[in-house]
C-alpha cells in the first residue's frame, strides 16, 4: 500500500482547481496530483503514491547514497577536487 514510484514531471496543469501533472514513469504517463509538492517544477522527479506526489527526489541525496556505497566497494573514481 505504501508503494511509491519515482517519475519525471513532464507537464503541470490545473484541473478543477487542483494542481495536477503528467508524470513519466519510464515511458508510461500518468496524471498525478501535485498539490502536496507546491515547490515542484517541470523536469523534477516526484515520488508518487496512489496518484499523489508525496515528495520531490533530492538528486544530491540520491547521488550521495550511491557514492557512499561505491566507496565501500573500493571503486571510487579519482575526483578533480
Amino acid at each position: 500500500m505504501c508503494l511509491a514510484v519515482p517519475g519525471r514531471i513532464a507537464r503541470i496543469v490545473d484541473q478543477q482547481g487542483l494542481r495536477m501533472g503528467d508524470v513519466d514513469f519510464g515511458g508510461v504517463i500518468r496524471r498525478v496530483c501535485l498539490a502536496y509538492v507546491p515547490e515542484a517544477v517541470e523536469g523534477d522527479y516526484a515520488v508518487v503514491h496512489a496518484g499523489f506526489a508525496i515528495s520531490i527526489v533530492d538528486e544530491q541525496a540520491a547521488a550521495r547514497t550511491i557514492e557512499l556505497v561505491r566507496q565501500m566497494d573500493g571503486k571510487e573514481e579519482e575526483s578533480d577536487e
Binding site: 500500500m1 505504501c2 508503494l3 511509491a4 514510484v5 519515482p6 517519475g7 519525471r8 478543477q16 482547481g17 487542483l18 514513469f25 519510464g26 496530483c33 498539490a35 502536496y36 509538492v37 507546491p38 522527479y45 515520488v47 503514491h49 496512489a50 496518484g51 499523489f52 508525496i54 515528495s55 527526489v57 533530492d58 538528486e59 541525496a61 540520491a62 550521495r64 547514497t65 550511491i66 557512499l68 556505497v69 561505491r70 565501500m72 566497494d73 573500493g74 571503486k75
Partner: protein, 368 residues
C-alpha cells in the same frame, strides 16, 4: 528508470553485504516495518544473503492486513445497499470478512470498483450524482493525505454523494506496542520510508530514547534495505541507539508539511483495534467532526460488533513478528493467495503473500 535502477545494482549490493559481514560479531534481530520492504527482501532473497547472525522479522506494516474483520464486514454491508458504489484499492477486495469478501459482494450484484487514486472516487461521485459513492480508505500515513485531499476536494466541489470509510492507521503506536510486549525480541527497526516522507522523522525520536533501540528510516529498493540494515547493525554493534535516515532522497526531517496540514484538518487520531495487535491508543485516523458529512460511518449510521478471527489463521503472530509465514501450519496448504485464510496472504504487502510469491513454500514442507 532513474532513481530505481541505481538502487538495484549488484556490485553495490555485494559491497553492502561485505560491510555487514565485516561488522557483525553478535546475533541481531531487526524488524522492517513496512510490507513493501518485506516484499523487496523476499523478492531479492536479501534475508538469505545476510550473515546468519542477522535475522529479519517482518512488521505489521500492511494496512490491509491490520484492518479489523468487522470493518471489512461493514464495507461489504454498505456495498450491498441499493444505489451505493463502493470503491477501494484492489487489495481490499479480496480480503476475507467474516463470511465473504468484496469480490463476492460484486459477484452477487453489488457495485464495487477498484480505484488507483481516491480522487478517482471523487470524480465518480461528480459524474454519478444519483448514486452514493463510498471510498473504503485504508493505508498508513503515506496514504492518509490522499484520502484527506479527496475529502477536501469533494467539499470544495460541494458534493453531497461522496463519503469515506476511514480505516487509516499510524505506524508509531504499533512500533511502541511491539517494543513494549514482554515477548519482544526486536532489537532494531527499519522504519518505513514513505510514511516518514509524509510525517518526517521526529515522531520516532521519543521511541528511540524510551526503548533504547536504533531506528533507521529506510527506502524500498534492495540497495536501500541493505544500506539500512548495515546502518542498523553498525549501531547495534557499537552499542548506539539513534534515529538515522537512510532514505534522504525522499525523506526530509520535517516531512511533507502540506500533507500534514491537511491531514490535521480532516482527521483526528483515535484508538483502534488492529488485527493481531489489539487496541492501540491513538493508532487510527477518524474523520474529524468538521467533515462528518463525509464520514460514511456517521452518514449511514453503521455499527459493528467485534468478530473473532478464524482459529486456523495465525496472522496475528505473523504481524507481530513472532512467527514467520512458513511456520504457520496452514501456509501453502489450505492458505494460498487463491484461497486466503487471512489478509497477509492476500495483500501485495502481506508477509505470507511475499513468502508464497518468492517460492518459499518448499521450506515449509521441508521443515517437517
Amino acid at each position: 528508470m532513474k532513481f530505481v535502477d541505481e538502487f538495484r545494482n549488484v556490485g553495490a549490493a555485494r559491497a553492502l553485504l561485505d560491510r555487514i559481514r565485516a561488522t557483525v560479531t553478535k546475533s541481531w534481530t531487526i524488524m522492517e516495518v513496512c510490507g513493501g520492504q518485506t516484499h523487496t527482501i523476499l523478492r531479492y532473497g536479501i534475508d538469505e544473503l545476510l550473515p546468519p547472525a542477522v535475522t529479519l522479522v517482518h512488521g505489521p506494516g500492511c494496512p490491509v492486513c491490520v484492518t479489523p474483520i468487522e470493518m471489512i464486514d461493514l464495507a461489504i454491508g454498505l456495498a450491498q445497499r441499493p444505489g451505493v458504489i463502493l470503491c477501494s484499492f484492489g487489495d481490499m477486495l479480496r480480503v476475507p470478512g467474516s463470511r465473504s469478501d468484496l469480490f463476492d459482494a460484486r459477484a452477487a450484484g453489488a457495485d464495487v470498483r477498484v480505484v488507483y487514486s481516491p480522487l478517482d472516487a471523487v470524480d465518480l461521485a461528480r459524474r454519478e450524482t444519483a448514486r452514493e459513492v463510498v471510498f473504503f480508505a485504508v493505508g498508513f500515513e503515506t496514504t492518509a493525505p490522499t484520502t484527506a485531499m479527496a475529502i477536501a476536494h469533494a467539499s470544495d466541489l460541494g458534493l453531497s454523494n461522496f463519503s469515506v470509510i476511514a480505516a487509516h492507521v499510524r505506524v508509531p503506536p504499533a512500533i511502541e506496542a511491539i517494543l513494549a510486549a514482554p515477548d519482544n525480541r526486536v532489537q532494531g527497526f527499519l522504519a518505513a520510508g514513505h510514511v516518514c516522507t509524509v510525517m518526517g522523522i521526529g515522531e520516532y525520536r521519543p521511541i528511540v530514547e524510551k526503548f533504547g533501540v536504533p531506528i533507521v528510516v529506510t527506502g524500498f529498493e534492495p540497495i536501500d534495505l541493505l544500506d539500512g540494515i548495515a546502518m542498523c547493525v553498525a549501531q547495534l554493534e557499537a552499542g548506539r541507539a539513534e534515529l538515522e535516515n537512510q532514505y534522504a532522497r525522499s525523506v526530509r526531517p520535517e516531512g511533507n508539511r502540506a500533507a500534514q496540514a491537511l491531514m490535521a484538518a480532516i482527521f483526528t487520531p483515535v484508538d483502534r483495534r488492529w488485527r493481531g495487535l489489539e487496541a492501540l491508543p491513538k493508532s487510527a485516523l477518524a474523520i474529524s467532526d468538521r467533515y462528518a458529512a463525509y464520514d460514511a460511518i456517521r452518514k449511514f449510521n453503521l455499527t459493528s460488533a467485534r468478530v473473532a478471527e478464524p482459529l486456523e489463521c495465525r496472522a496475528g503472530e505473523v504481524l507481530r513478528g513472532l512467527l514467520k509465514p512458513p511456520q504457520c501450519p496452514a501456509f501453502g496448504r489450505n492458505c494460498t493467495p487463491d484461497h486466503p485464510l487471512g489478509a497477509p496472504m492476500v495483500s501485495s504487502e502481506g508477509a505470507c503473500a511475499a513468502y508464497f510469491r518468492a517460492g518459499r513454500v518448499a521450506e515449509a514442507t521441508e521443515a517437517e
